[in-house]
């Protein structure tokens, strides 16, 4: 680990000043400290933001949710309103990491977490994300766990977060505070696809802080849930996952929100699947037909071709579970 100086911000103004001077924000630290030890991350200054007042969960008008950036994953998952209004969020959180890590990690940090690509984490390997222009060792390497959607020739790394898949499905917004004031960014625009600049991962401006993730209200009744498929039953990243929310009234699907994880360079929203569902009556045949579109545009690599079929089946199964019909 490279030496770094450490400061504790007691309010947002102090934090922003330190951030403007090039300080790196640290909240739970579960990704950052790990990557600092591997010397993938080499911040000169850490700015501890845990004392900032960003630890609240509030129900917004008409039943949306605003989750403060410093709410821990454990707190968010256990929160009664999160569990009743958006089970897809609490399930995604509880299927992530371990109890210990969820006690440390925060919602803001969760969506900022960096890829688990082994070449990214290995400082001796070529990686355009870590060292722009050095190449991508994963493209023709051991790429079984890598992305099949949203990839480029420069990077095929997946975004590792489960909660972010739920947030993407629900069309959440990320609240930001920077030197120039506050702004909101739709979740789908917050995390960036690699393109030719895989080292740019978020639409953050210099010194900006995440203050909250806000989930918009959705019509009720709403059924939602998260399915995660992985190599072992717990404490493992997703091979594929599906976040599904459905509003069914009068026997017809009125609203559908679907996104997939473990397969994209960013949480992968599935508008074609959603459009196939809206206006239809729930049925087994409908789930199959909608899920058949889940892997549209997939570009599998040598070792992850299985993800194409696995993704369709994961989405179909979760539509069945949430939709509640055969």
């Amino acid at each position: 680990m490279h030496p770094f100086s450490y400061t504790r911000a007691s309010d947002t103004r102090e934090a922003l000043n330190a951030g403007r001077d090039g300080g790196r924000y640290i909240a739970g630290g579960t990704t950052l400290v790990d990557l600092m030890r591997e010397t993938v991350e080499r911040p000169e200054t850490l700015v501890d933001i845990t004392a900032l007042p960003l630890g609240e969960i509030t129900v917004t008008e008409r039943g949306g949710l605003r989750i403060g950036a410093l709410v821990t994953m454990s707190e968010a998952a256990a929160h009664a309103k999160v569990r009743t209004l958006y089970p897809v969020v609490s399930e995604a959180l509880e299927l992530s990491a371990s109890a210990q890590l969820r006690n440390m990690a925060t919602i803001g940090g969760n969506i900022m977490q960096r890829t688990r690509c082994t070449y990214f984490r290995d400082v001796t390997a070529d990686c355009n994300k870590r060292e722009p222009g050095s190449g991508c060792a994963a493209l023709h390497g051991v790429n079984r766990t890598h992305a099949i959607l949203g990839t480029s020739d420069a990077c095929v790394a997946t975004h590792p977060s489960d909660a972010a898949v739920a947030f993407a499905a629900l069309e959440a917004r990320v609240h930001l505070l920077g030197p120039d004031g506050t702004r909101q960014v739709p979740f789908v625009d917050f995390l960036l696809r690699p393109g030719s600049t895989p080292h740019r991962e978020q639409a953050l401006r210099s010194g900006e802080l995440i203050t909250a993730v806000q989930i918009p209200p959705l019509p009720r009744p709403l059924r939602s849930g998260y399915l995660k498929v992985r190599d072992r039953q717990s404490y493992e990243f997703a091979l594929t996952s599906a976040a599904v929310a459905l509003h069914v009234r009068g026997g017809v699907i009125r609203e559908a929100r679907v996104a997939a994880g473990g397969v994209g360079t960013v949480p992968w929203k599935l508008p074609a699947v959603e459009q196939h569902l809206v206006g239809e009556r729930p049925s087994g045949a409908l789930w199959s037909a909608a899920a058949a579109k889940a892997a549209d545009g997939a570009r599998p690599l040598q070792h992850n071709r299985f993800k194409v079929e696995l993704l369709k089946r994961t989405v179909e199964r979760q539509l069945r579970v949430v939709g509640g019909t055969e």
Partner: protein, 216 residues
């Protein structure tokens, strides 16, 4: 009931300088390493070898901070290299070697301790961030000679073989019971999944946690 200890500016040398003549396993290993290996640096703090005193003073001193925290009821004030993890603080500075370093990357749970009552991975916790925190390690669970019920249950159920993951398993189990995730063996397995056991004692670990939870 916390007792105030004087500031420890430097880590006590591991296994050296103690008044007790009886060799512990750690002093034995440290001594054999010095005898067997040609060059062995002093204590390792935050991944940096502090070589001789003069050389260390000559080299630029890495950024350090002062932190005061309570460990197993005892107040501690120290100045540490900012890179020091809570795990290294416990093991190398305070001589509390019960918490184990397995992966040092948050993937195995052997370093699990309680910080302000919540179970966390000590290896991913920077010590400088723990100003005012209350830390409980495996050494802080027993009441005098009276083992914590979960410690006793691990013995009764024979819930370990090599024992390396056991301190982390027990502290994590204490957290799991406090959180109330012990309704069924399946629930315990899921909520204890952050603790890996290479010997594969999971069935008995789950049994020990379940029995202790039921006794509460």
């Amino acid at each position: 009931m916390s007792t105030e200890l004087p500031e420890l500016a430097a880590p006590p040398p591991t296994g050296a300088g103690g008044s007790s003549p009886a060799p512990t396993r750690r002093t034995f290993i440290a001594t054999s390493t010095v005898v067997g290996g040609a060059v062995v640096a002093g204590s390792v703090v935050g991944g940096t070898s502090l070589i001789g005193g003069e050389e260390a003073a000559a080299a630029e001193r890495p950024p350090s901070s002062r932190v005061s925290l309570t460990v197993n009821g005892t107040r501690r004030s120290l100045t540490v290299d900012n890179r020091t993890s809570l795990l290294d603080l416990l093991r190398e500075h305070l001589g509390l070697t019960g918490s184990k370093k397995g992966c040092n990357a948050g993937a195995c749970g052997a370093c699990t301790v309680l910080v302000d009552g919540h179970r966390v991975n000590a290896c991913l916790t920077l010590a400088v961030r723990l100003e005012g925190a209350e830390v409980t390690t495996i050494e802080g669970l027993a009441e005098g000679e009276q083992l914590h019920p979960l410690q006793q249950a691990f013995i009764d159920e024979d819930a370990f073989q090599c024992g390396y993951c056991t301190p982390g398993q027990i502290v994590s189990g204490v957290g799991c019971i406090q959180e109330g995730h012990t309704g069924s063996p399946e629930e315990i397995r899921e909520w204890m999944s952050g603790n890996i056991c290479r010997c594969g004692c999971y069935v008995k670990i789950v049994r020990a946690v379940r029995q202790t939870a039921g006794r509460k």
